[in-house]
């Protein structure tokens, strides 16, 4: 038997594995087609659309106020921030100025929502690495405090529908600021605990360091935003660079990574949560008096025109492009969702990695299917 025939006899074969839409680590209904050579990923194709509800078409049949509940269902782990991004866009279109108290309340809610979202993102990421359920439960337990506050404030635990064009739906209930201070005090040591679980854990660092490196130029070119972009070393945060609401009044830092690997993406999120606590603390201390609420029934008729407003969501920049024709319903609304751009970079990142690392990279990108498919 010569060499070539031996090779043919015991040669290896690449094969396709279908990962998802039902798979424990695809965060919803993402479908990946992976071409594997043994354990190594040769190529990957991302299929999306399993959660497509055509939000943009729905928006063309709803008034501006009526669409707010639908924004809850985009990135369902950060509904508060979606609400905020949407009402900011409508306010920019209408040229409405918001009262100071409403601004501060919005900042508090957005930052707490960011923490809630990052807690979920980090802990599910660690679960993807195989630390089964324990970090996730810790994250959920900490998140529960924030969710309880949201429940107190707006009456729901997942789909808040709290922001309104021109303000918020309801003022904070009595004693809410004390509660927020309590949450901030409670969360700080809990973050230390989470960091003790992961930061220096040799298995965790071995699994994440140098895995799925996203260079800065590639990140920008792919339109990656949010913590994923900052992990690649680009210091870009809309809260600092294009301040909306009253973010320019608060002091906070923007955590930036160096290498753009999975570890940096984790670390940036972890640090960002602490910064969010700082912002929330300053906001709750400086909370002005006044009436933040607006009448829910108001019908908005913007001038014909268009606007594009983006704001810093936990997963990146959520943009709303609204075209108005003067009627109470938008003529066209495009939702530029951060996860959509973030997931597009995945095939590039996982090429040549092990299948376990592909899961790690997907987890570290922290995508939510609700806003990818819209």
């Amino acid at each position: 038997m010569d060499d070539t025939s031996l090779k043919e006899d015991i040669g290896t074969e690449e094969f396709w594995v279908n990962m998802g839409p039902q798979h424990p680590s695809t965060h919803g209904v993402l479908r990946l087609e992976l071409k594997l050579s043994g354990e190594t990923v040769v190529d990957g194709i991302v299929h999306i659309g399993y959660l497509h509800r055509s939000m943009e078409k729905i928006a063309e049949n709803r008034t501006y106020t009526q669409f707010i509940p639908f924004t809850d269902r985009l990135d369902y782990l950060a509904s508060m921030n979606n609400n905020l991004a949407y009402v900011l866009a409508v306010e920019k279109l209408m040229g409405i100025e918001v009262s100071d108290r409403a601004k501060y309340i919005r900042v508090i809610m957005a930052e707490l929502g960011r923490i809630a979202s990052h807690l979920f993102g980090i802990t599910t990421f660690v679960q993807d690495l195989g630390a089964f359920a324990t970090p996730l439960f810790y994250g959920m337990r900490e998140r529960e405090k924030i969710v309880e506050l949201f429940d107190d404030v707006c009456g729901q635990r997942l789909t808040y529908n709290y922001m309104r064009v021109g303000g918020v739906s309801r003022d904070l209930p009595n004693g809410a600021d004390g509660k927020i201070k309590g949450i901030i005090k409670y969360l700080r040591p809990k973050f230390d605990d989470l960091e003790a679980l992961f930061n220096s854990n040799p298995i965790f660092t071995a699994r994440t360091r140098g895995v799925g490196v996203l260079t800065a130029s590639k990140a920008v070119n792919y339109g990656v935003t949010g913590p994923n972009l900052r992990a690649s070393g680009v210091k870009w945060d809309l809260r600092k660079d294009e301040p909306y609401l009253c973010y320019d009044k608060f002091t906070f830092d923007i955590p930036v990574g160096n290498n753009g690997d999975a570890w940096d993406r984790y670390k940036v999120r972890m640090d960002e949560m602490r910064q969010s606590l700082r912002i929330a603390e300053q906001a709750v201390l400086g909370l002005p008096e006044g009436d933040p609420t607006v009448k829910a029934g108001r019908i908005f008729r913007p001038e014909p025109g268009e606007t594009y407003m983006r704001s810093e969501n936990p997963r990146g920049e959520l943009g709303f492009y609204i075209v108005s024709d003067g009627s109470p319903i938008p003529f066209r609304m495009k939702i530029r969702s951060p996860s959509f751009s973030n997931i597009a970079v995945l095939p590039d990142l996982i090429r040549g990695l092990k299948i376990a690392d592909a899961v790690c990279v997907l987890g570290s990108l922290d995508v939510v299917m609700g806003e990818i498919d819209r």
Binding site: K218, G223, V234, A344, R374
Partner: protein, 136 residues
Amino acid sequence: MSNGEAFGLIKLKIPDTSLEEKTRAIVVPREGILEAARCLTGQGFDSLHNLTAVDNKDNVTLVYHFYSMKKRAGIVLKTQLLPDDLTVESVERFWRSADWLEREVYDLFGVKFLNHPNLKRILNPEEWTIHPLRKT
């Protein structure tokens, strides 16, 4: 760099370019989109932030939002397509983010992007023949 400056630069290359009054968006003719893209990448607009289309019934307008991380500036570029000939050059070779964004626009509006590496439906099933966000 403001819209005005970028407009001046593109105007040099493509004489048909105009500036929209209200939105300060640069409107380039369909044929000039590649030239404009080349011009913008040269000017440091390294991120195609958003790409979408608006069906105005008599035409379909493509809206590009570009940002420059270095210059901290953003511009809006528009180009108009006629409903009976919805084809335009793909800008995927300049900005990789255009890959999925163009696929989405193709899926929802039926705009065909020429020289796109993988122009397939992205959100809707592949066997569909309609484009759901078209108004006509």
